[in-house]
Symmetry: C2
Subunit: 461 residues, 2 copies
Amino acid sequence: MTRIRISRVLAQGEDGQSVTISGWVRSKRVSKNFAFLVINDGSSQTDIQCIIDADKPFYDDLGRANTGASVRIDGVLKESPGKGQAWEVQVDKLEVVGESGDGYPLQKKGHSMEFLREIAHIRGRSNTFGAVYRVRNQLAMMVHEFFQSRGFQWAHTPILTASDCEGAGEMFQVTTLDLKNLPKTKSGDIDYTQDFFGKATNLTVSGQLNGEALALSLGDIYTFGPTFRAENSNTTRHLAEFWMVEPEMAFANLHDNSILAEEFLRFMFTQIAERCEEELSFLGKHFKNMSSEQIRELGAHSFGRISYSDAIKELESASTKFEFPVEWGIDLQTEHEKYLSEEVFKKPVIVTDYPKDIKAFYMKLNGDDKTVAAMDVLVPRIGEIIGGSQREDRYDVLKARMEAHDIPVDEMRWYLELRKYGGCPHAGFGLGFERLVQYVTGMGNIRDVIPFPRVPQSIDF
Amino acid sequence: MTRIRISRVLAQGEDGQSVTISGWVRSKRVSKNFAFLVINDGSSQTDIQCIIDADKPFYDDLGRANTGASVRIDGVLKESPGKGQAWEVQVDKLEVVGESGDGYPLQKKGHSMEFLREIAHIRGRSNTFGAVYRVRNQLAMMVHEFFQSRGFQWAHTPILTASDCEGAGEMFQVTTLDLKNLPKTKSGDIDYTQDFFGKATNLTVSGQLNGEALALSLGDIYTFGPTFRAENSNTTRHLAEFWMVEPEMAFANLHDNSILAEEFLRFMFTQIAERCEEELSFLGKHFKNMSSEQIRELGAHSFGRISYSDAIKELESASTKFEFPVEWGIDLQTEHEKYLSEEVFKKPVIVTDYPKDIKAFYMKLNGDDKTVAAMDVLVPRIGEIIGGSQREDRYDVLKARMEAHDIPVDEMRWYLELRKYGGCPHAGFGLGFERLVQYVTGMGNIRDVIPFPRVPQSIDF
């Protein structure tokens, strides 16, 4: 018989149904007359309890069915008399498929998150990481669902790029040159014409610039893929490799952009609370996170709106003492962002029209010549979760801004040309996907929301 | 009024409906009494025709609405008297949002594919690339739909890896070291402890090994993300950066794997023919590709099955003269693969149990000690489209195979441990996503099925 997932048994099981279940032993209790095996197969937060009568011929095999062993069980579904579980399996046949070996590292006692990171190849079998990974999968699919249902197309923008002007931080270099024997030009520089692509190559820090080209062909697109920053930041909020969501809309301005961002986040909050209630309830209990009710609430109300200039006034008149002093022109710090969303608005808020000097070259210059059509979405507990802007669509203005930012105009000719050939107002934003997973799951360290985290000095697995 | 997508107008328009359309001018015809503008906004293969009466005040603006210009049109939907179009727009207001500039490169006349590759930032506005990109988006979403509906979780496996043993070809090196001033160890080697991750780092050639760890936690997973090969192959079938789909199932053997691969491909063929009929019909006409009817047919019948050994017998007894001689032990060449699927089975066929010496170290050794539980899916016209296997789940056998293949066992300890701690039979396969897009769209060159292709000596845009 083909195995049936435990999630399916729990959702659609019927009393007396014959089932085959395969999974890993979470715990075992053996007594004189019967034994209990608690099994999880990764499909669901809830385990299933299996009961084995002592007269079964395979009763002795139970010795091998230790915590972590993989088993296959044929049996019959019964309504469970136990508290908090709807079904249990009366076992007819037990096969220990793979023993758990000496020193199986994932025991029932709680392990530290640091230890679990050292066994990243196995931590997915724990309650915590099973929950996080299922929430991650669900959030990822909801990204697609949201944008596709609105007619956005998923665009695969390149990871490898010769451009280093995206201005979002340090980049990783990619090469096939033999580092022990680097080819040199006559003038003694490295001869990149002999490298794979014929020029120095990096890992992308954003798909936006390519995304703009595709939005100006297909209308509305979004990217959703890995992105890289070579920042030497050993924090709980930074990864060297992370996933970004970057929608881009043609024929759209900052207002349209802020509506999209708000509708997107409200959809994510409302729906994840609905779809992963068991996982969020487990995580909420163990990690002092928001309850699924609180997450749902975040999506239930419209977001606040405030301009950067008014936000500065709010901060200046605050009675709170900030570590970083406030004046017009500063980049908002997390403490400021949290104050605005937690204290002033008591909900997510979108701040618009930041000073041009603290924002990227591609953002549309406003009429005041001092601010750009940028926006950040700030949420309680963490501050900024989304950053975006209307893009500068005037050829001459963009060219001047590029020159002012020392962007090599020649190399970026194609990007400028998007403003020359049927250009139009367009806008988009970026969301660091792990930040969202972290926010929703309450994981304190971003290394715990991606299966195999990449951070400075750490690339095992 | 918010713009409405042309795809929506065509599907759900009503006579007399007021609409706002934004898009790019495909062509213009001006006469004394009225003018026609043909508009496309990237949402649909079919353009929409807009009619402007000569008495409109903005009639003179038409001079600026050249091919490639972006426009915004307010008007009323009318049933069209023209052939092959259901709707046209009677224009009330026209705004030229962005002119197309002198020398707009995408003129109505046909351009060569080579030329279009040189304007990759704009080629998405052509009929051909609009079609390819929409088919690509649809296929990508169907990958998710297929696996998610079967309870597989989308797993984000890392791009950056310290492992170079995946054995699937040349790798790109990733570094933050200053190449002009490389740190050296006392013995004169490059000192990778000073590199970002503290050791030599590469771009992944496959997410499989990490995917196995996740399948052995979550049950069934699939990866779908970018993958890299630094092979210096300037062909129509190779990209340095491409997207792979790699499902992995716990508690599954080669038979389960071949069923999954067959059901997956049949779903893709049947559904894409349904959902992108307009695009496929356009491409079929222009690129001598299969018609959407032929693509649907591929999915309508069960696939053939044959063992490698029997396939060799078929090839040996063929009257066809092959360029590469056939004998047991050879790696099948495209000519052999095409013969098997086109001549012997006349449909897709799954070849199983290849000689161990031509396959990767992680494939499960069969009882004959000569073959492994591998499978390739071969399709007419191109040959292999999917490769997969049951994985070796016996600790000792795998360790011996790794040693025989010079795989550093120490570094891969975590991978071996998956066989020690609750291991189980598991299996999976890999599909090069661009090969599938190429197959379905009929594009002769793989560079034309990804928006910004990365190939040797070419990394513009």
